[in-house]
């Protein structure tokens, strides 16, 4: 690196001498833009409390990463915006009734343990926001499942709890329209399918994410819930009933958020197109397994975390055939 500029000398470096203008920072900025609609909806549904939680989570993530760099006497990495995204996603994964210290601790865990301890950006093998959510759910299960209704913030159950076979008796399933718009109880950022779809479409248009993971994920959930219906048995329910069940499953819980924004995280998902499709399908399969036959009402976070761990294996088995491969006779 030339420290002092010497304008009379020519720069000599190895080709190529051109680079795309799209940096890591720009890609991350696009993700933040894509998350803006869901953030706006969170504010609409859950009020100022939502914004305060978002600020707490993001500030905690960014400051933690900055502090680590400062203590280690290295250049800060918060400029690449990945810590901010982690913070925002953590806020999106907690109920709006959560106490403020919850996302603060979650963010610190995500940055310090999941990311920095493994080498910082690019070194983590688990999605930081999801791993933090899993930790918070294990440590503070009551705070993490204390659902409230939108607007009046009265305590209630999520649609998912009513969807599952052993669901809350007598509870009414919200309409598909409400689920699509997001006027349902749930985590801060996961309720509005439309807001997340707009974000997802933006990321596809900007070529930030590969369509294979989200389409594989959502598609698999839709197909499997269509086949197995709400009760998980191939029981005698009408086709309309199955369609309703499939639509409800696709629109509820953390599926939209997970499929578009979490499973597509570069660092923890496969690097080949075929691998990404496998990731999407694998996540979908595991989500349905957990939701219909497992002990938890929600399976998205665990399915993604399990597929994160499987990613190196997927990468190894989906190495593209090289051009000009000479087949051994």
């Amino acid at each position: 690196m030339v420290d002092k500029e010497q304008p009379d000398l020519l720069i000599v470096s190895s080709s190529p001498h051109l680079k795309t203008r799209e940096t890591t920072q720009r890609l991350m900025a696009d993700v933040l833009i894509a998350l803006a609609p869901a953030t706006a909806v969170a504010f609409w549904l859950f009020g100022l409390r939502a914004i305060a939680l978002v600020v707490a989570a993001v500030a905690s993530a960014v400051l933690t990463e900055h502090a680590v760099a400062a203590l280690g006497k290295r250049k800060t990495t918060i400029g690449d915006l990945s810590a901010a995204i982690t913070g925002l996603l953590i806020a999106f994964n907690i109920p709006p009734s959560a106490p403020f210290w919850l996302p603060v601790i979650g963010s610190m865990f995500a940055i310090l343990i999941v990311k920095v301890a493994f080498g910082g950006l690019g070194g983590n093998f688990l999605n930081p926001a999801l791993a933090a959510r899993a930790m918070l759910l294990a440590a503070w299960p009551v705070h993490m499942t204390n659902w409230v209704r939108p607007f009046d913030l009265v305590a209630t159950a999520t649609p998912l709890a009513t969807l599952v076979p052993k669901g809350v008796a007598g509870a009414e399933l919200p309409t598909l329209v409400d689920m699509f718009i997001g006027r349902i109880p749930g985590c801060l950022g996961e309720t509005s399918a439309i807001a997340l779809l707009i974000g997802g479409a933006y990321l596809l248009w900007r070529k930030v994410i590969d369509w294979r993971t989200p389409v594989g994920f959502i598609g698999t959930v839709a197909v499997l819930t269509l086949v197995f219906g709400p009760s998980g048995l191939l029981s005698d329910i009408t086709f309309a009933g199955r369609l309703q069940a499939a639509a409800s499953h696709v629109l509820s819980g953390g599926l939209m958020l997970g499929a578009w924004f979490m499973a597509t995280d570069y660092v923890t998902s496969p690097v080949t197109p075929k691998g990404r499709l496998i990731m999407g399908i694998g996540c979908g399969l595991l989500t349905v397994l957990i939701r219909l036959w497992g002990g938890y009402p929600e399976g998205v976070s665990y399915s993604i975390l399990i597929m994160n761990v499987a990613t190196p294996l997927i990468d190894r088995f989906t190495v593209p055939r090289k051009f000009g491969l000479v087949k051994k006779a």
Binding site: S14, L18, G122
Partner: protein
């Protein structure tokens, strides 16, 4: 005219050809001194045939090698040899060169005699003419053309493909040659087809050069056995293996050459040079060079005598302002120069002068595994991993991941959002692996 099949991966950099695409080729001012390197081709270097103090004529052979894989060099001016010494070379380092002081007369060498119509020549005669004229691939790799059209026994060639893709941004030399002298390009192709016994010829042109395509189409006659193939504009369409795939849907085997699938690929400028060698006995002592870039005042397409210094040409184009890099070739695979006192060699297709502000010199950051390098690699490799191994000097692992199949196009480094030096690291491994293979080969024999 047919549409070619594209290839996997590749990038669309800003092409920036508008500065020179419409400018006709102009003769550069005759140089006062030329520096002719004795090694400006792939293969064995030449030995000088002249001594200091000798008078030489334009087109006279001044260097030759007895090796099969080589090509002679010729004087590009008439005058006196003032030195034979090591001089800076745009490829790298210092290379033995013949320095000639021009007398401004351009007295032609009497050996420059037309050879008659190509139809009357035998393949062996054509190869002799090509070799004697010192013709090498003008696309940049400078492989001796006579060797290329001498396939070993048992390898039949059915198609000669001319590379008119010119996929590198900024360069327009081939474009202008195709547009201004399509007859020479086609004549040269016929000669190459005859030399290697191929019944079919193709001229592959990217679709961003519709005027060149039209000019070539007009000059073709049905009896030639030649067709124009229009290719989707994408870098690196002009890369040999990708070109063979796009035109013929044949994959050149790993470690092999196009002749392994019955094809010979040559540059359109090379074909034009072959035509001139046959029609007027002219050896390769000049070529078209695109001098361009935002740092040069008047970009142009110049017909340049081999051995003219970059400094001379840049001065003729109005000089440099705020130059950051001066590159021999195009921006994706060209070589950045440390001085302007280097000569134009046979493989110099362009002199690209980029402004300081255009040079991106950000520090690399962590690999995100975003997969863009994998998606864009035209050889279907996984650059992020090969580079990771190369950086840790684990060259065996890099070899296992097919580092040697890398064509060094630079798409990976171009597209990496983390600014990682991918192709640069892969080159390190390729260099090491090649050295090890040479050592192993030497031990065997």
């Amino acid at each position: 005219m047919t549409a070619g099949k594209s290839f996997h991966g590749g990038i669309h950099p800003p092409y920036n050809k508008q500065a020179t695409a419409a400018l006709p080729i102009v003769d550069a001012a005759p140089p006062k001194t030329v520096v002719i390197p004795l090694h400006q081709h792939t293969g064995a270097p030449c030995e000088p045939l002249v001594k200091v103090g000798d008078e030489v004529k334009l087109g006279q052979k001044i260097g030759e090698s007895q090796s099969f894989v080589s090509a002679p060099v010729h004087a590009s001016v008439s005058g006196k040899v003032t030195a034979i010494e090591a001089r800076p070379h745009p490829g790298s380092g210092l290379v033995q060169a013949v320095v000639i002081e021009s007398d401004g007369l351009d007295t032609p060498d009497p050996g420059m005699v037309p050879a008659g119509d190509v139809a009357a020549l035998s393949p062996e005669e054509i190869r002799k003419i090509i070799r004697a004229a010192g013709i090498v691939g003008l696309g940049g790799a400078a492989f001796p053309t006579a060797v290329k059209v001498s396939p070993p026994p048992g390898k039949a060639i059915d198609t000669v493909v001319l590379n008119g893709a010119e996929c590198e941004p900024y360069l327009t030399a081939d474009h202008r040659v195709m547009l201004e002298d399509p007859a020479a390009v086609i004549y040269g192709l016929r000669a190459l087809m005859q030399a290697c016994g191929a019944p079919r010829g193709m001229i592959a042109v990217e679709d961003n050069k519709p005027d060149a395509i039209e000019a070539l189409q007009k000059s073709l006659s049905a009896a030639d056995g030649i067709q124009i193939v229009v290719l989707h504009t994408k870098y690196p369409q002009g890369s040999e293996k990708q070109l063979v795939w796009a035109c013929l849907e044949r994959e050149v085997p790993s470690g092999g050459l196009p002749l392994d699938v019955g094809v010979v690929v040559s540059n359109v400028g090379t074909a034009a040079a072959v035509a001139q060698a046959i029609q007027s006995g002219k050896p390769l002592y000049e070529r078209v060079v695109t001098v361009t870039g935002s740092a040069v005042a008047k970009p142009q397409n110049l017909r340049v005598r081999i051995g003219t210094s970059f400094a001379d040409l840049i001065e003729q184009c109005g000089g440099l302002t705020d130059a950051g890099k001066v590159i021999n070739g195009g921006p994706m695979m060209g070589i950045a120069q440390s001085s302007l006192d280097v000569p134009v060699i046979k493989g110099t297709s362009g002199i690209l002068c980029l402004k300081r502000g255009e040079i991106i010199r950000e520090q690399p950051t962590a690999c995100l595994k975003c997969g863009r390098c994998v998606e864009n690699c035209p050889m279907h490799l996984m650059p992020l991993w090969i580079a990771a191994y190369a950086e840790r000097a684990l060259h065996d692992e890099a070899e296992r991941l097919n580092a040697m199949d890398c064509v060094e196009c630079g798409c990976c480094s171009y597209i990496c959002p983390a600014r990682r030096p991918l192709v640069q690291a892969i080159r390190l491994s390729k260099y090491e692996i090649a050295a090890r293979r040479r050592q192993a080969q030497a031990k065997k024999s």
